[in-house]
């Protein structure tokens, strides 16, 4: 089994992980990579950020339906 991912491969898997359950081998390879890769740790944080922000945005809009911005 290939046990080293490049950042490019890790990023693809991290993005897929948002939308499906990764196979165990991919999940493990990803954990190994992210543990030692500072840049990909940042990317993980950015994905978490985007997920939380989208959720907050939706809630914000739902409670603020009268907000009528022009455009």
């Amino acid at each position: 089994m290939k046990n080293t991912l490049t950042c490019r491969e890790a990023t693809r898997l991290l993005l897929e992980d948002e939308d499906r359950e990764l196979p165990a081998a991919d999940r493990i390879a990803l954990q190994v990579h992210v543990k030692i890769c500072f840049a990909c740790q940042r990317f993980v944080s950015q994905l978490n950020f985007m997920r939380r922000a989208t959720k907050a945005w939706r809630k914000h809009s739902e409670t603020d339906v009268d907000d009528d911005r022009p455009g």
Partner: protein, 154 residues
């Protein structure tokens, strides 16, 4: 197309408070995406045709390392406390290529599971992942430029 329909398509988030509209919106989004897919003879065409850029090549060196390491975005709650941030997020979503934007909306706004979206749109899961992969990378790039870098420059 009616005014309210246009409004709902442009700002679906304003209409999603009423859950009975969800089914209605899914129908509209589905219709729009299917229509766009149909204009291309093969499913793969839309993936290249709408968005030919290889986003990954722009992000990574030939050896697979990041060209520029992702930045520290800090605390999401701090950004989300500001109305302006949601306006930027809206702008960034508006700028996504149409199919990507709608698929992303189905996933994030309507919270549909991947298999539900694939079923609704009759696309393969690998094509769905390509669309969402690109949507998320574009969104990330847009937020970096319009929110985080803009704040640093101010």
């Amino acid at each position: 197309m009616s005014e309210s329909l246009l409004a709902a398509l442009e700002r679906p988030q304003a209409f999603l408070g009423q859950s009975q509209l969800k089914t209605w919106l899914i129908g509209i989004l589905k219709h729009k995406v299917v229509d766009q897919l149909r204009r291309h003879t093969r499913e793969a065409t839309i993936l290249v045709g709408e968005d030919g850029e290889d986003l990954d090549d722009a992000l990574f060196q030939a050896d697979g390392h990041w060209r520029d390491a992702p930045r520290d975005w800090g605390d999401p709650d701090a950004a989300c406390a500001r109305q302006q941030f949601f306006e930027v997020l809206q702008t960034c979503c508006d700028q996504l290529p149409p199919v990507q934007a709608r698929v992303f909306m189905m996933r994030e706004w309507l919270e549909l599971e991947s298999n539900e979206i694939c079923q609704e749109l009759a696309i393969t899961s690998s094509n769905l992942w390509v669309l969402l992969h690109r949507a998320r990378l574009r969104l990330r790039d847009c937020l970096q430029v319009r929110w985080f870098s803009a704040a640093e420059a101010a």
